[in-house]
Amino acid sequence: MSQHVVNVLLSGVFHASILFLVAAGLQVIFGVQKIFNLACGSFYALGAYVGVSAVGWYTAAGGPPALFIVPLALAGLAVGAVGLVVERGLLSFVYERDETFQLLLTFAVVLMMEDAIRLTWGTAPRSTAGLYLVYGQTHLLGATVPVYNLIVIAASLAIAVAIGWLLTRTTFGRIVRATADNREMAAALGVDLRRVYAKVFTLGTALGTLGGALVIPATAAMSEMGIELIVEAFAVVVIGGLGSMRGAFVGALVVGILRSIAISTYPELEMLLIYLIVITVLVLRPRGLFGGAAV
């Protein structure tokens, strides 16, 4: 019994740690630029496919299987550069417009990215065959867990701490928070908004692509994975509160674990339960659990 509970909890936490990365990307972009980035799911899918390819090349080049996580993570981070292209090439034209247009522009990216992925990698699911269990499995409180899951959980925690450090302890973080608070005032004090926006959007994208790359050994890359994940990431930020990093962390845990419990007990409820929580939160406390005055 306890073994079952631990299994469900750990798979929930694993899913939560991936969700946190994507949701953190969504949050940092919303917090600073006030853009709700529908394309975060597409970036996640892109990261997954690039991760599969990178690991494929690495294995073909004869790299030791135990180190496959290095090219995987590096590829996931590197492809985050696509965020810079999207920001400079598309979004920078509509900062003066209503947020509806910014939302629709990210929807355009969703459409384009879905087919760009199909065009590049085809429609068949892609996976990194056999590498998931390369680190073996371990026993934890009677349950059997792939070590890879624990590595991802630890990596996600480390990234959470790193983001916290970046935002609260560095000059860049202070500028970012000042811009999120009041962009006119920040600009008046000499902050170059163009640079801040470009950096923040790229950071947000890289978090999403890294999330996609890290999830891939445990599952397979599919072209629909992006538009499916966006609704979960959306649930995370609504529950946690738009723009809040702590909110992304807690929201990801709530959504990840609830989803895991629902799947193992009453599969019909899976996402229904999460959407109902989202609606309850939006109705009772639209700023989410941790949303502050930033919205």
Partner: protein, 316 residues
């Protein structure tokens, strides 16, 4: 005056299309007319009330599933009954959903509608016994005006009686919407869109007006959704998915949300362009994404906005 002439010419062209155009093009007119009804309603929210819903596929789904359910499970084939039931059910669901959603504007309104849309999508996907899950439910051929047309070949039925039935519904829906947006109610909505605080001080019940607009747009979406069913013959959950909601907002923006007929033009261009692109390459999303991006950046007034450059600057 030229505007009226243009509309009359367009209506006449649609009416004679089955006589002159190829069957392929005439069949494409059916989803166009269904979407035109949906978009007339959506634009009451988008263009006139300034609220962008990312969950209207919910109501399209309700309309389509109402028809599929009545024809497959209840042996009710009359399209009049189906449309009235779809409208009633659309309004019934829109009342609580709208009451919650219209308390918010902008991004929160969009998110809340998206969440409700996904609740419905998950519901139809998971409750297999009632809805057929991802396989969907068949939408059996409805009878029109009490006449069962079961014996007719499917194509003849669709390009003949069903075509003119859809056209009649579209014309009726257009006339009703024209009355609505030119009534004091429509003017109040525009006032609310442009300056909610001022509207409030003028004694306009902002939330109440938004709520009414939401319910009306949901009824339109449900009726349009029911019309979408018969040509396909099957109703599945993708109709209620959030990307479908995004696509209908896209259509509205494509035609131009600032004018009354913009969304109708948008639906027409979207449907024909999509089928044309798909006949050349399978990657229509790549091209349509680029088109959407170009419209948002360069022509936020849509196609009709391009034709009338002297119009007041686009605002929302």
């Amino acid at each position: 005056m030229t505007g009226r002439l243009l509309v009359a010419a367009a209506a006449a062209a649609i009416a004679v299309a089955p006589l002159v155009a190829s069957t392929y093009h005439v069949l494409l007119m059916l989803p166009f007319m269904a979407y035109a009804v949906v978009l007339l309603g959506l634009n009451l929210l988008f263009g006139y009330a300034g609220l962008v819903s990312f969950g209207h596929a919910l109501f399209i789904g309700i309309g389509a599933y109402t028809g599929a359910f009545l024809t497959s499970h209840c042996k009710i084939r009359s399209l009049e009954v189906i449309l009235i039931a779809a409208a009633a059910l659309g309004a019934l669901v829109a009342a609580p959903v709208g009451a919650l959603c219209v308390r918010y504007v902008k991004i929160y309104f969009g998110m809340l509608t998206l969440a409700f849309g996904m609740v419905f999508h998950t519901f139809v996907l998971k409750f297999y016994r009632l809805t057929g899950g991802d396989e969907g439910t068949p939408f059996l051929r409805p009878s029109l005006l009490g006449r069962s047309l079961e014996a007719m070949p499917k194509i003849d039925y669709l390009v003949g009686p069903y075509y003119y039935y859809s056209l009649a519904v579209l014309v009726l829906a257009t006339l009703c919407m024209w009355r609505i947006v030119h009534s004091p109610f429509g003017l109040c909505l525009k006032t609310i869109r442009d300056n909610p605080a001022k509207a409030e001080t003028l004694g306009i019940g902002v939330t109440r007006y938004r709520f009414h607009a939401f319910v009306i747009s949901a009824v339109y979406a449900a009726v349009g959704g029911a019309l979408l069913g018969p040509p396909i013959g099957n109703v599945d959950p993708t109709l209620a998915y959030w990307t479908h909601s995004g696509n209908i907002v896209f259509m509205t923006l494509l035609g131009g949300f600032t004018s009354f007929f913009g969304p109708v033009v948008g639906a027409f261009v979207f449907i024909y362009l999509q089928h044309w692109v798909m006949s050349v390459v399978p990657y229509w999303r790549l091209i349509f994404g680029a088109i959407l991006a170009a419209i948002v950046i360069f022509a936020p007034g849509g196609l009709l906005g391009l034709l009338t450059p002297r119009r007041a600057a686009v605002r929302l």
